[in-house]
């Protein structure tokens, strides 16, 4: 477990002092994918660099598996860092080394003998799906492939924690998804804890279990990704949620009601696992109603689907009532009746 208490980082320049990270408290469980989101300048990058002391904390405590990172001397810190992998926005590979040798680099640092090194490198290359590219140089790879090398390199010494500093921010959306899939895959296969810094809510939504929202060096909101999506409290969090879900739905509700002036209109809230059931087709089969999806957006998180559908129900009033009863009582989908025709 990673336990952070009162963590603070102050940068002093000649003219002023900037508090990049301000008395931060955070607990991160073993094996979870923890996301930290914030706009640039929020202090999230500084925060993740404090964890392996690429930046020296000004005050506070960082405990990784009960080892107090802030109290380690230079040599102990070096050894501790070998157990904390890190990947970067710009990959930071050595252009002068082949893919193989880049991945072997942390093993050389840890003093692993040559034969063992070769074996481990081969495993890692397979794990990240780069077989056949062993002898290429980084300049010959695409961005996504470079990040795969970065991930293999970070995993070389079997770390317990993987720090991702804007690891997908330099990649296109499709490559981002494949890298995120890889991260989930290694998280499940190897059970390592991943701490992920990003400014894209999409990344959080797709792979994180829990999320912390940072603003001005502080964590303004944190919790399960689904909870934060459902009930964002702070303005900044709402903005991030809108990144994924879009907004302005309510504005054209009036218009919707006017346009579809028949039948009942309900709003369905999908919260977590429930969306796995094929709700709409079940309703259509069980009850004599016609369902017309007017508007909506469903998105997938690590804890299941989340989103809203606005549905028009046409048919016999009794049947409609039964269908609504069914949703309310038998599923975990929340129903909100917008228009009820009696």
């Amino acid at each position: 477990m990673i336990s952070i208490q009162g963590l603070r980082k102050v940068f002093k320049t000649k003219t002023n002092t900037i508090t990049a990270v301000d008395r931060l408290d955070l607990d991160i469980q073993d094996g979870e994918i923890f996301g930290v989101i914030g706009y640039s300048g929020a202090g999230k990058s500084t925060f993740v660099r404090l964890l392996n002391r690429l930046e020296e904390p000004s005050e506070g405590s960082i405990k990784i598996d009960d080892k107090e990172i802030t109290e380690l001397n230079t040599n102990e810190l070096r050894l501790a860092r070998q157990e904390i992998g890190m990947i970067f926005q710009h990959f930071n590979l050595l252009w002068s080394r082949t893919i193989e040798d880049n991945i072997a680099f942390p093993l050389e640092i840890a003093g692993v003998p040559k034969a063992e090194r070769d074996k481990r490198v081969e495993e890692l290359i397979r794990l990240v799906g780069l077989a056949g590219r062993e002898n290429a140089y980084p300049s010959q790879l695409s961005g996504g492939q470079k990040q795969r090398v970065g991930i293999a390199r970070a995993l070389a010494n079997n770390p317990k924690v993987l720090l991702c500093d804007e690891a997908t921010s330099a990649l296109d959306p499709e490559t981002t998804n494949s890298i995120l899939d890889l991260l989930v895959d290694i998280n499940q296969k190897l059970g390592l804890t991943i701490i992920l810094i990003t400014h894209e809510m999409h990344v959080i939504r797709k792979i994180c279990n829990r999320v912390a929202v940072m603003e001005n060096g502080k964590i303004v909101e944190q919790g399960d990704v689904l909870d934060v999506f459902l009930h964002p409290k702070e303005t900044v969090t709402k903005k991030f949620v809108e990144q994924v879900m879009g907004n302005g739905e309510e504005d054209d509700l009036e218009q919707l009601l006017a346009e579809y002036d028949q039948g009942n209109i309900i709003r369905l809230h999908f919260v977590g696992e429930s969306a796995n059931q094929a709700l709409i087709s079940q309703l259509a089969k069980k009850y004599n109603v016609d369902l017309n999806i007017l508007q909506g957006k469903i998105t997938q998180t690590q804890r299941g689907a989340y989103g809203t559908l606005i549905v028009q129900l046409l048919g016999n009033t009794d049947e409609i009532d039964k269908a609504v009863q069914y949703i309310t009582n038998k599923t975990s989908v929340e129903v909100e009746v917008i228009r009820n025709v009696k």
């Binding site: 392996n52 690429l54 810190l77 070096r78 050894l79 501790a80 860092r81 070998q82 904390i84 890190m86 970067f88 710009h90 930071n92 590979l93 050595l94 252009w95 002068s96 080394r97 680099f105 942390p106 050389e108 640092i109 840890a110 140089y137 980084p138 300049s139 390199r153 010494n157 720090l163």
Partner: protein, 220 residues
């Protein structure tokens, strides 16, 4: 035309060999000393791994002073030091200390520039893996800046060839000496001419080798 030439082939070959000898040995010395100076400048600079204002100031001062002294005067200044080190102030060996001390600060600055060009993120990545400073120097900084280090030493080599000619004029031997004593002073200008041609060829050879190695190493 060639029959009444004053050029003695044996002397010319000897002089060419001496120039090669001085340049090559001095180049090796300059490479080592220059990398040391460049690393010291880079590591002790503001934000460097061994950030040290005082040491950085001292090294920078030494480098600047030796770069400021014209080479022909530097040789004269170093006469006592050379005499102590080599036991003589004449001949190709006697030129080596002055050549190295004259060229290394220049190369040191080029090394510093080359190291500054190394991606800071890569150094940081190595630190995040728990690398020692020694590992960072030998496995990150030097390999990652190698093409620039090689083109730097090529530029320095060409300056060194010029220096050996100057050193030759005050008794170090080599093509400079041959051109000056056997050519210029006896008004045998064909010797001056042929020496110039050979020096130009040597410069071309060094430039070609340098470019070739630098391109070969660059995988960016």
């Amino acid at each position: 035309m060639l029959n009444d030439s004053n050029i003695k082939i044996d002397d010319l070959l000897e002089a060419t060999y001496e120039t090669f000898y001085m340049t090559t040995i001095a180049l090796v010395g300059t490479f080592i000393l220059g990398i040391l100076l460049g690393l010291l400048l880079y590591l002790t600079m503001k934000g460097g791994i061994w950030e040290n204002k005082f040491l950085n100031f001292i090294v920078a001062a030494i480098v600047n002073v030796f770069r400021a002294i014209p080479f022909i005067i530097l040789i004269l200044l170093l006469f006592p030091f050379t005499n102590f080190l080599i036991g003589s102030i004449r001949g190709p060996n006697a030129a080596l200390p002055a050549l190295i001390i004259g060229a290394a600060p220049f190369y040191g600055r080029l090394v510093e520039i080359a190291l500054r060009e190394v991606d800071k993120g890569v150094v940081e990545a190595a630190q995040s893996m728990g690398a020692k400073t020694r590992t960072i120097i030998f496995k990150v900084l030097l390999p990652e800046s190698m093409p620039a280090l090689i083109s730097g030493i090529t530029v320095t080599a060409i300056a060194l060839i010029g220096y050996t000619a100057m050193a030759g004029a005050i008794g170090a031997g080599g093509l400079g000496s041959y051109a000056y004593y056997s050519g210029f002073q006896r008004r045998d200008f064909d010797i001056v001419f042929i020496c110039s041609v050979i020096i130009v060829i040597i410069v071309f050879i060094f430039q070609f080798i340098g470019d070739f190695i630098s391109n070969k190493l660059d995988k960016r």
